[in-house]
């Protein structure tokens, strides 16, 4: 593909298992490396732990009973339960030179969207650590806000991680809607703001606001048969395999 893409493909909100979620995000990255920018939103079929790419499997020991999947992206452990997750994949021609600029840009869009729905948010000015009584030290991503992460009521409610490959970048991130029984130290947007946000409506709104912030048009297009086949292959070879998930 030649020239800079002008349109972002938008994949409608769906619910995925953890291994399929990671596989589809990687399919998105492969598409971006081939010149096709895409954005998708998803929710999780069941509560799941994901590990950062470099984290040892042992950090998930405190979350027995939950499936554990290793992400292709960096960062710390996440417990995914009542959240809206986005995945954005861009070809190099659309990626800012500094890796963290894209995270800050998307977080600002999400923060504005939440503010418009009555949620008072702030953006974390610099890397920090939240002191929450009883929370496990050192492994939970949502206890360690990075510069640009979105906070509400003293809790981190939006965070993202990235994978760069030749030709493209994947950025996916969690919008923590409600607290999970599996990570009771953390609060979601609804608890800290007294709201009861409609996840589908928020996803639709962000599906317009994110392309706009990137100066791109957008059009909806579901997964192709080839993409679904590739995702199933990635589930088998990687995200559903013990070798991958316990590799460190």
């Amino acid at each position: 593909m030649t020239g800079k893409p002008t349109e972002l493909r938008l994949i409608p909100l769906e619910t995925n298992s953890a291994e399929m979620a990671m596989a589809l995000d990687e399919v998105l990255l492969e598409g971006a490396a081939a010149g096709k920018p895409s954005l998708r939103f998803y929710q999780w079929a069941s509560p799941t732990v994901t590990l950062g790419y470099f984290q040892p499997y042992s950090v998930a020991a405190g979350f027995s009973g939950l499936p554990v999947v290793r992400r292709p992206t960096g960062g710390d452990l996440l417990v995914h339960d009542h959240e809206l997750t986005y995945a954005l994949a861009l070809p190099d021609s659309l990626v800012p030179t500094k890796v963290e600029e894209l995270a800050c840009l998307i977080h600002r869009v999400i923060a504005r969207s939440l503010n418009a729905r009555g949620v008072s948010t702030t953006c974390q000015p610099a890397k920090g650590k939240l002191q929450i009584a009883g929370a496990p030290e050192g492994v939970l991503c949502f206890l360690h806000p990075a510069a640009g992460d979105v906070l509400a009521g003293g809790f981190k409610v939006v965070g993202s991680a990235q994978r760069r490959s030749r030709g493209g970048l994947l950025q996916h991130g969690s919008i923590l809607m409600k607290a999970s029984d599996h990570a009771r130290w953390l609060k979601g947007i609804d608890e800290v703001s007294g709201t009861d946000l409609d996840v589908e409506e928020l996803a639709r709104s962000l599906g317009t606001e994110i392309p706009l912030a990137l100066s791109l048009g957008h059009s909806g297009r579901p997964w192709s048969g080839e993409e679904k086949k590739r995702a199933l292959q990635l589930v088998t070879e990687r995200y559903g395999s013990v070798d991958w998930n316990r590799r460190r």
Partner: protein, 126 residues
């Protein structure tokens, strides 16, 4: 400032010929883009690498990126200090933060690599 005695790959690795091996590291431009480097994974000694293909990975501020081999060859040494302190790469990319030594393949070529001036022009246009 990119040292003039080094060669540079488009994918932001530097190469210094030192006897029968080449020392390889990440350029200052690359580490500045990555910012805080927290983890680095490098190939093992004896492993064969192919120029332009991935040979390792680095994590910085929640972003995982590939590190590419700038030439064909075999890994002759790995900078073990980085397993204890990956931030050495950010602090001293052309010195203590070197990554690996590659013994070039017999027909291994270096003429695809850029001079400091050429590399500086590439990064100024980025």
């Amino acid at each position: 400032m990119n040292p003039k005695d080094l060669k540079y790959a488009k994918s932001h690795e530097w190469v210094r010929v030192d006897g029968d091996t080449c020392v390889v590291g990440l350029t200052r431009f690359a580490v500045d883009q990555l910012t805080d480097i927290t983890y680095i994974e490098l190939p093992k000694v004896g492993e064969r690498v192919t120029g332009g293909e991935g040979m390792g990975e680095v994590e910085s501020v929640k972003a995982v990126s590939d590190i590419y081999a700038p030439l064909d060859g075999e890994i002759a040494a790995v900078n073990d200090a980085l397993s204890m302190d990956a931030s050495l790469v950010s602090r001293d990319p052309y010195g203590e933060g070197w990554l690996v030594r590659i013994r070039p393949a017999k027909d291994g070529r270096l003429d695809h690599l850029m001079s400091a001036e050429e590399y500086t022009r590439q990064t100024e246009g980025a």
